[in-house]
Assembly symmetry: C2
Homo-oligomer: 481 residues x 2
């Protein structure tokens, strides 16, 4: 470790783990979104607001208001500023004088607007913060989310538990969506940060910080552009050696890059450069929020996938054709099984109209019969010990019969799945389109509660298996160099 990184960690620790937070400029027009989202915060919360019209609303939330940051009688570890942009320099000055641990500017309207006023103000706050060594996050962002201590940026985010996934996002929307959709998918966050225009702290600083953070085992990153390419590259290479890093580059196309300029003022690097950097560092590239969630979920819940041979189980003949097409198109192999496997399957596979070549085609009726769970168990066993199969994917309940509704039938099947998950071979569950979104959601949630998050389509599952197989392959290759 370089001493720079050490100091980054020490420098950011106070802002990421604050004992006191001050919100500057929250107001009725924002629905007091900041103070409300901090209702879960374990430490002290202060408000700073000079408009007397806002005082009753703030008092109603049980928060003490001050007219200035400097009036707060105790130290302030983290500040959230939601003030008009013209006021930003004054707030930065107060933060410096108050010696806060860090400040996040929710305020936007700076260089990303490409206006003289915006550019001038951004330069002013950047110069002040830089000279004073202030940890300024943003502007134009939602800052830090630390669920363990209830530090949130929206009241829709979970809190109270400590997860193992760190998330760094240049965009507030993506930071928020990742935390909420992640939670629904069994992904729990250690710490996350959205950092917008990145005038002081950039992705590299946060990557260094989370790279060193002991509670963070996997890191996801949504980035539109980096300011110091070489430093980012060195940092990524270093961090990716120790924990998986998943990168989604926003603005990879020319048209997308045009949008990043308006969004966070990020400069465009070419998509090819990014692809090369990610590959050389042994990180994982994804292209959407869905892929980010699927990949992180698989890193968390699926055992390392060592090859591209898949064993597939579908719930009808029609779905068997589709799952085979999808996995094959994605570049995975669907090998015929060993003679020994076929002999074992023949002993109990007696579904007329079903088939057990690969994909295995069973039916939901069959699965929900009295001995359904034990048959499923036997099938998984056979695939689990077949030498050509590196990963097993099981479709659950596409159509009419809602497994989720009937605990008596469902529980033994979920038990069989849970048991098999504990064994050696990577195993993926796919909950395909049901005839009701509500039922699909119920099924997904039930599986998450059991610690076996599912994938929502054959396409997403296949893509993830491919990505993970390549990742573990490349990691092996990198470690042998």
């Amino acid at each position: 470790m370089t001493s720079t990184t050490q100091s980054t960690r020490n420098r950011l620790d106070r802002a990421f783990n604050p004992r006191s937070v001050a919100v500057v400029g929250d107001k009725q027009a924002l629905g007091y979104m900041w103070l409300r989202s901090l209702s879960s915060f374990k430490g002290k919360v202060y408000s700073v607001q000079i408009d007397p019209g806002e005082f009753p609303g703030i008092a109603e939330l049980g928060v003490t208001n001050y007219l200035s940051l400097l009036d707060i009688p105790e130290p302030v570890d983290y500040v959230i500023a939601a003030v008009p942009r013209a006021v930003a320099p004054g707030i930065v000055e107060d933060c410096i004088r108050k010696e806060v641990g860090g400040v996040c500017f929710f305020t936007s309207g700076f260089a990303e607007t490409d206006t003289g006023e915006g550019i001038r103000l951004q330069r002013e706050i950047a110069d002040m913060a830089s000279a004073a060594g202030l940890n300024l996050i943003g502007p134009n962002c939602v800052g830090i989310y630390n669920p363990e201590i209830g530090l949130r940026h929206t009241a829709a985010q979970a809190y109270g538990e400590k997860g193992s996934v760190g998330f760094i996002a240049q965009s507030g929307t993506h930071a928020t969506l990742f935390s909420i959709l992640g939670e629904q998918n069994g992904i729990k966050i250690s710490k996350s940060v959205s950092y917008g225009n990145a005038v002081i702290l950039d992705s590299t600083d946060f990557l260094e910080y989370l790279g060193e953070d002991e509670g963070t085992e996997i890191i996801g990153l949504y980035v539109e552009g980096v300011k110091e390419g070489r430093r980012f590259f060195d940092c990524l290479r270093h961090v990716a050696r120790r924990k998986p890093v998943v990168i989604w580059k926003g603005g990879e196309t020319e048209e997308g890059a045009r949008a990043t300029a308006s969004h966070t003022g990020a400069l465009a690097e070419s998509g090819i450069v990014w692809q090369t950097v990610i590959k050389q560092c042994g990180a994982i590239k994804v292209d959407s929020l869905e892929e980010m969630i699927d990949t992180v979920k698989a890193l968390l819940y699926v055992k390392p996938i060592k090859g591209t041979g898949v064993g597939l189980i579908a719930m009808s003949g029609g779905q068997a054709v589709v799952i085979a097409d999808v996995f094959a198109r994605t570049g995975l192999e669907i090998p015929l099984l060993s003679q020994r496997s076929y002999k074992r399957l023949a002993a109990f596979f007696n579904i007329i109209g079903g088939s057990y070549r690969n994909p295995l085609d069973i039916s939901s009726t069959f699965l929900m019969a009295d001995n359904g769970a034990s048959s499923l168990n036997s099938m998984l066993d056979v695939l689990g010990s077949d030498p050509g199969i590196d990963c097993i994917a099981l479709e659950l309940f596409p159509v009419i019969r809602p497994l989720s509704k009937d605990a008596e039938t469902a529980d033994p099947i979920l038990d069989a799945i849970s048991d098999f998950k504990k064994r050696a071979k990577p195993f993926i569950i796919i909950v395909t389109t049901a005839n009701s979104d509500a039922l699909a959601t119920e099924m997904r949630d039930k599986l998450v509660q059991r610690g076996i998050p599912s994938f929502s389509s054959f396409e997403r599952a296949a893509k993830t298996v491919k990505k993970l197989a390549e990742f573990y392959q490349s990691r092996k290759a990198l470690s042998q160099n």
Copy 2:
């Protein structure tokens, strides 16, 4: 039209529009799924069952049971047979003697199992039906769905209304899923059929039939293999000239083809042959149920797309980057707007942190302000008259604020969208991942009720726009030849 086609239409009309239906072999073990699904049928329903143990269950459903098809005192237009396979030849014989309009064999376990017994039985029923000119559908299928007269194959399917989309599926799962998911997406079916092993009636017969059917304006087809390639090709070319035909070929990969053999016993043609045939005939190729639904939905609800220039509106800076990347990666153009358009936008676009190059980046807060609907209207107007824009895509409400919950704010916005839909330019709505699946579903349903079905991701929307632009382009080229 050839006389063959004429006779196909006449031949199948009775089975597709029956006034009486007999179910042979429905039973408790199947949950009386057939008799229950026919509770909506407008005509007469009879049961044929010889097991006295089933008589009370059938009587409870209010259905008259007979010991043989031949005992039914009136003519029978359509028969559904759910009997053990060994009994199938006897039922075929009865159908012939009874001179029914058609029979669907739900029964499976024939050639698709690759067993001597299955192959023998399949040949036997095929020979009998062929010699007698019996309209045999299947075996190993769920047969006809005609919502207008309440003829269904599952109680989850809608009935009572007459739609304009015909669907032909070799797989029962896909036929069922298309009807249910289609309904959720504003797709209403005229007639659909699942035909399984296709020993007598094949996709070509149904394509001919629906091609001639006046109530059917668009045809979707899921096919695993065809028996008479040349006849299918001629028929497809003929039908596709008059109505859009969307084709999903199951078993396009080698591995998928292996699964079709076990599923419906279909022989594999090469994927390349299919691609060529579809293209030459001016039909539209899709690769999944999702694409089938998206494409049919766009054919129904989106005006013809004449070029690849798109105007995009996203609900945050982060989403503006993503929508631009996704549409650009899909091969669409996101042009800068005309000087005139930018002048018009500047006059009212005053969102700090927003942007209006293309994508236009607005925020949900802005949209839900008092003048949100009129601003949206103005934006759509500008894009609608910009010469570089062939199609407009609008993202609705990705994150926190649930538009769906608040009718007072939502209605003027939905009105603005409905109004614009009526005007000249193709217009697509995308309801992106919300923080709750239930809210996304609610929003989707609300839009469907208004006659403006939405797309559920940028990827799916972009793919559909691309596909439709190519389709209208190729149709223009074909019509000029």
